[in-house]
């Protein structure tokens, strides 16, 4: 990074630290914070969309749609996250490659399953084997975002479903008495009142999501915990900056990061709760 870092073994004190903390590996560590935050921002809309779809499916008048919503929320919530990430997402990845294989390589004669091996033609690889590493990383990132979206979407669906059911019936009947259509009732009365009941559950979900990012490494996305462990491990003289076991220090940095994130989230959810409670006939709304 800096000119004077050319020979790290000769450095001491402050200069050593300034070089150590700005080497390529630390840059990757700092960048992983951005990866984690952008993943969170990227997945939240997906989670909310799937959550709403699931909740509305479960309330649907059409029986098959209702069953589908029920199966989605109960199955995905029931499967342990680590199993879901290891199997469902690898299956999704292989499914995409299989479809591309069928579409792009009609002349391929070899079987796709050869013993343990999963082999599609090189043109069907996702991403292509020739693609640069960053495309592989983006693909892994998107796969991770979809995975988080599906898993947490199921939890959100259940929360939203419960919140929709918690709105007092009399409120909706008043809408009918005013001559509103079912759509108007849903948009103007049901939905705005539902948030008060949904927010505590959604905020729990958000807090769990923040801490679930180490699961990303299963998909090859290097998150903050991976880099903290990698950097903190003791380094012998083969490295430019040898040091002992510094994992405690790095994990303390993570602790501060997560506490800050929690603090900011709590503030935001506090404001959000106050905002959706205004004018509601609830204890929170009348204070």
């Amino acid at each position: 990074m800096f000119e004077f870092c050319a020979d790290p073994k000769s450095l001491e004190g402050f200069v050593w630290w300034s070089c150590y903390l700005t080497n390529g590996k630390h840059m990757a560590f700092y960048f992983s914070f951005i990866t984690v935050l952008s993943l969170l921002l990227f997945t939240v809309p997906l989670i909310m969309a799937l959550g709403f779809a699931g909740a509305l499916a479960r309330r649907s008048q059409i029986a098959p749609v209702r069953w589908f919503g029920w199966i989605y929320t109960s199955m995905v919530r029931g499967v342990p996250d680590i199993i879901f990430f290891l199997f469902a997402l690898i299956a999704l990845d292989q499914g995409i490659e299989y479809l591309r294989h069928v579409a792009l390589c009609p002349d391929w004669s070899e079987p796709i399953r050869q013993g343990n091996d999963f082999r599609v033609c090189p043109e069907a690889k996702m991403p292509l084997g020739t693609a640069p590493q960053w495309i592989h990383e983006i693909y892994g990132f998107v796969l991770a975002a979809v995975g988080f979206g599906i898993v947490f979407g199921a939890f959100a669906a259940n929360t939203l479903y419960g919140a929709l059911n918690a709105v007092p019936h009399a409120q909706l009947e008043t809408g009918v008495a005013y001559g509103m259509s079912p759509r108007q009732i849903f948009r103007r009365i049901h939905l705005p009142q539902m948030w008060v009941y949904a927010l505590p559950g959604l905020s729990n979900l958000w807090m769990i999501l923040i801490k679930a990012t180490p699961l990303l490494f299963l998909l090859g996305v290097e998150d903050v915990v991976y880099w903290a462990r990698e950097l903190g491990g003791s380094k012998t003289a083969i490295f430019d900056y040898p040091h002992g076991d510094w994992r405690l220090g790095y994990f303390l940095v993570l602790l501060v990061f997560y506490l800050l994130l929690t603090w900011v989230s709590e503030k935001a959810f506090g404001r959000l709760t106050a905002w959706v409670s205004r004018g509601q006939a609830t204890v929170g709304g009348t204070t």
């Binding site: 390529g24 590996k25 999963f118 084997g129 020739t130 299963l218 090859g220 990698e230 003289a237 076991d245």
Partner: protein, 245 residues
Amino acid sequence: MTTFLKLAGAATLAATFAATAVSAETIRMGTEGAYPPYNFINDSGEIDGFEREVGDELCKRAGLECTWVTNEWDSIIPNLVSGNYDTIIAGMSITAERDEVIDFTQEYFPPDPSAYVALSGAGMDVKGGVVAAQTATIQAAYVAESGATLVEFATPEETVAAVRSGEADAVLADFAYLKPIVDASGGELTIVDDSVSIGGGVGMGIRESDGELKAKMDAAIASMKADGTLSDLIAKWFDGRMVKF
């Protein structure tokens, strides 16, 4: 008209070039990146080590273009088999058990004895105490059979940290991995027994259905053995160790 034809010709030529460029094979090399001096992430955040140099040289000799990726040790075989990368070059000993799932090239590193390392002066009985080893390694299997209590860790680094913290009485790992750590510990750690012979040499793992790649890599390894470059690289990365092929 001639200009047009020339242009068209040039375009076809360019297209042919582009097509050949794409079809030049790219091989994705999978490694762990946590096992110095075999492979590790250096301070610039790049994959470095003995296997990085060997791998790059092998690719050059086999006429392949190679990119490097890291993967957790635990899932390194499943991810090869499902096609996320094409080789495993991660200090993996050739064993009959692994050979059932994947294929190995000929060895590029001779069988390395494993060593027990413990805190100095602990007077450790390696058959009775608690021994740390990395998950899914030959050492973990060996400890489990030896009568000692096995504690497994996901990374090699954690196995040594467990000895330092007292969680385990000793660690069993490749001698070449432990030696620099013991040397750097300033007498804190000591080698209890460095003559545990388990496993074969280290080879490159390749999908069983990938016979063509295996043949290319085998030929490249043979040529590196024949002209002595492999021995030189081993001497460079493993403290001047002399190996004759």
